[in-house]
């Protein structure tokens, strides 16, 4: 990059103009409220890279939100498939542009709603999905060939993929038309989130099965969303969040390489998921640092010479652990700051939390306000009219470098320990996060960082939302009807195929799709898999 003619002029000619010719911006020109023109990007350092240029510190696209706004994707799910379907249609009607499914814990861990392990948990934190009929009801009257669907599913991602493929067949939709994202990130379950069902190795095999199958059959899906969100919620610092997430990313890339997959194709369909907390400039810098680091990891470690494969695309969600139960309406302001950080940091999609989520799942009104918060940032604040508007500010550039340095040394530590799988197994990652969590709790307890509105004897209001416990009984009845109408011999034979496939090393998805089409359930498949894989056991 030459230093003589500074961007934006040179960057505009080199990168921005060729891009916008093929991808027109939202407006012919962008003006402030007073009529002053807004350039696509500003820069004070003539030698610095521009947006859309490796290593993408300033953004993965040259025009970012001037071309297309981020996807507003609110995570929702509770009670029953039909009730969640109603919330989805409500959100789509209010202008949400993508769906995001929250599954209940039994579904996430691989138990049907009528399993003894599911007692008390059915429909609580998400929707129960055990059969193709359940998924059909969840997505009733929603066009699965045009609405993109994100699924927060990890241990059982392979089964949810298989259910979706079976549903597409039932509806006559080609699998190639399905769009969306599977979280499918098992490593952070072991690190921070806790829904792992099987030991690490077979779990990793299923992760790669999903990536491999999607590459061939469901190419418009992002088969994995490597998540720092939960690592941060568990108490990590910002630098730990990106370091451990990118280290997980390295482990997945290595696993795909071991499977013999083409890493450029894999890289082009990877996505990431980060948290956005209250410290605005720290968060913006974190997103910028993560983008730059991942691009370099892809090029230097994996030898990828392909811009799209090196680009870190990410979803973000505002920080659940920052929400306070006392004076909960204050959370609207926290969510706004955090959402702004994600947008200023160049997120591709965003979930804003409901203000009442420290009390229960969000009420419909809180869910609407959360979405409106994004829409106000997008349409009224003007921040979407300029790419990486904070880039070039000495504070931001220094903070970006500092977070990058700290995260790089953590990744180095993991390399020294023999990679992420070993670092997870030896307890290093959990310990590091827990140390940070303990320190920040002690800071809060000592009054150093007490949130506004929180006092020792402050009142906590009643929860605005509750799940009807009757849903568990209804689900049990529905499943027993479902089981009664199947051909039992056929079910057994499919489960035997699954057991055989699990013992071998071929991709599990095709046999799972067949089994689910024949009426097998998620829980039955997981029980079968656990006979071969064993079960994860936590010893505290």
């Amino acid at each position: 990059m030459s230093a003589e003619s500074p961007p934006p002029a040179e960057w505009k000619d080199r990168t921005w103009r060729p891009f916008v010719e093929g991808h027109p911006e939202r407006a012919q020109e962008f003006l402030t409220s007073g009529g002053i023109p807004v350039e696509p990007m500003y820069s004070t350092d003539p030698a610095s890279e521009g947006a859309g240029e490796y290593p993408f510190t300033r953004g993965i696209h040259p025009s970012m939100y001037r071309g297309r706004l981020w996807t507003m994707r609110q995570y929702a799910g509770y009670s029953s498939p039909a009730e969640t379907n109603a919330r989805f249609r409500y959100l789509l009607e209010k202008g949400q542009t993508g769906l995001s499914v929250a599954f209940d814990l039994p579904t996430q861990i691989g138990y049907d709603s009528d399993a003894p392990e599911a007692m008390g948990e059915v429909g609580r934190v998400g929707v129960p999905i055990n059969t193709v009929d359940d998924l059909d009801a969840l997505l009733a009257e929603i066009p699965i060939d045009s609405v993109s669907i994100s699924m927060t599913i990890n241990s059982t991602a392979s089964i949810l993929l298989s259910l979706l493929v079976a549903l597409a067949r039932r509806r006559g939709v080609p699998a190639s038309k399905l769009r969306g994202t599977f979280q499918n990130d098992i490593l952070k379950e072991f690190i921070a989130r806790g829904t792992q069902r099987f030991p690490v190795e077979p779990s990793m095999r299923l992760v790669v099965d999903v990536i491999e199958y999607c590459q061939k059959e469901v190419p418009a899906f992002y088969p994995i969303s490597i998540s720092g969100y939960h690592i941060r919620e568990a108490g990590s610092t910002a630098a730990q969040e990106i370091a451990f997430t990118l280290a997980d990313g390295i482990a997945y890339m290595e696993a795909c390489r071991d499977r013999g997959l083409d890493l450029v194709s894999v890289g082009r369909r990877l996505s990431f998921f980060f948290n956005s907390h209250n410290q605005l400039f720290e968060e913006v810098s974190k997103f910028r640092a993560a983008r730059r680091m991942w691009a370099r990891i892809c090029r230097d470690r994996f030898g990828l010479d392909d811009d799209r494969a090196c680009q870190l695309r990410f979803h973000s969600q505002t920080g659940g652990s920052t929400l306070q139960a006392m004076e909960p309406s204050n959370n609207v302001v926290r969510v706004t700051i955090q959402a702004l950080a994600a947008v200023l940091g160049g997120t591709q999609s965003l979930h804003t939390n409901g203000w009442d989520e420290a009390l229960s799942l969000p009420s419909e009104e809180a869910a609407r306000l959360a979405l409106r918060t994004q829409q106000i940032i997008a349409s009224e604040s003007g921040v979407a009219d300029c790419v990486d508007p904070l880039g070039g500010a000495p504070f931001i550039e220094n903070m970006t470098d500092a977070i990058e340095q700290e995260a790089l040394s953590l990744i180095h530590e993991i390399d020294e320990r023999g990679g992420m799988l070993k670092a997870i197994r030896d307890g290093y990652v959990r310990r590091a996060i827990e140390d940070s969590a303990y320190k920040s709790q002690l800071d809060q307890d000592s009054g150093k960082t007490t949130p506004i509105g929180v006092t020792r004897d402050g009142e906590i209001p009643e929860a605005p939302f509750s799940v009807d416990p009757a849903v568990e009984t209804q689900r049990k009845e529905a499943l027993s009807t479902h089981r009664a109408k199947r051909d039992q011999a056929e079910v057994e034979s499919h489960l035997n195929h699954i057991e055989a496939a699990a013992s071998g090393d071929s991709n599990m998805i095709p046999v799972m799709v067949d089994a689910l089409e024949a009426g097998c359930t998620l829980g039955e498949i997981c029980t079968t898999l656990s006979r071969v894989f064993g079960e994860f056991q936590d010893h505290g």
Partner: protein
């Protein structure tokens, strides 16, 4: 009635909830305060929890849930304790417990229910106060 020596506590997560940040912080704070603490890990049943509590001869059981299934699991633990005639073991809990559920859990035998963000020293102090009242007075003297 009150024992002497280090306070023995069992911490547990009943049900499927994987959020263990809170319980691990409590674990650490109680240990730092000199208590002997056993944590039984994710996904334990009420029966397993009560059995472990009796075998380990603990004076209190602390349960954590952030998945909304506290009513089912917490009440189950208290029911098993009664069945085993071990109601002298103190019960406390933490997590996202809606205000409207607190009364029924208190009736079921839970002395304290701590929301997220509760100062760790408060939990330590409550346990000291209930299990070693005499020592507290000495500390203050």
């Amino acid at each position: 009635m009150a024992r002497s020596g280090p306070i023995r506590i069992l911490l547990a997560k009943p049900g499927l909830d994987g959020h263990d940040r809170g319980i691990r912080l409590v674990l650490r704070a109680l240990r730092d305060a000199g208590m002997e603490v056993i944590y039984t890990g994710l996904r334990t049943t009420a029966e397993q929890i009560v059995k472990a509590a009796i075998e380990e001869d603990v004076e209190a059981i602390g349960l954590s849930s952030l998945s909304g299934a506290h009513e089912t699991h917490f009440v189950e633990v208290s029911r098993f304790l009664k069945e085993e005639n071990a109601e002298d073991i103190l019960l406390f809990g933490g997590g996202i417990i809606p205000q409207q559920d607190i009364d029924s859990l208190k009736k079921a035998g839970f002395d304290h229910l701590y929301p997220p963000g509760t100062p760790l020293e408060q939990i330590v102090a409550d346990l000291h106060h209930q299990l070693r009242p005499g020592e507290m007075e000495n500390d203050n003297a």
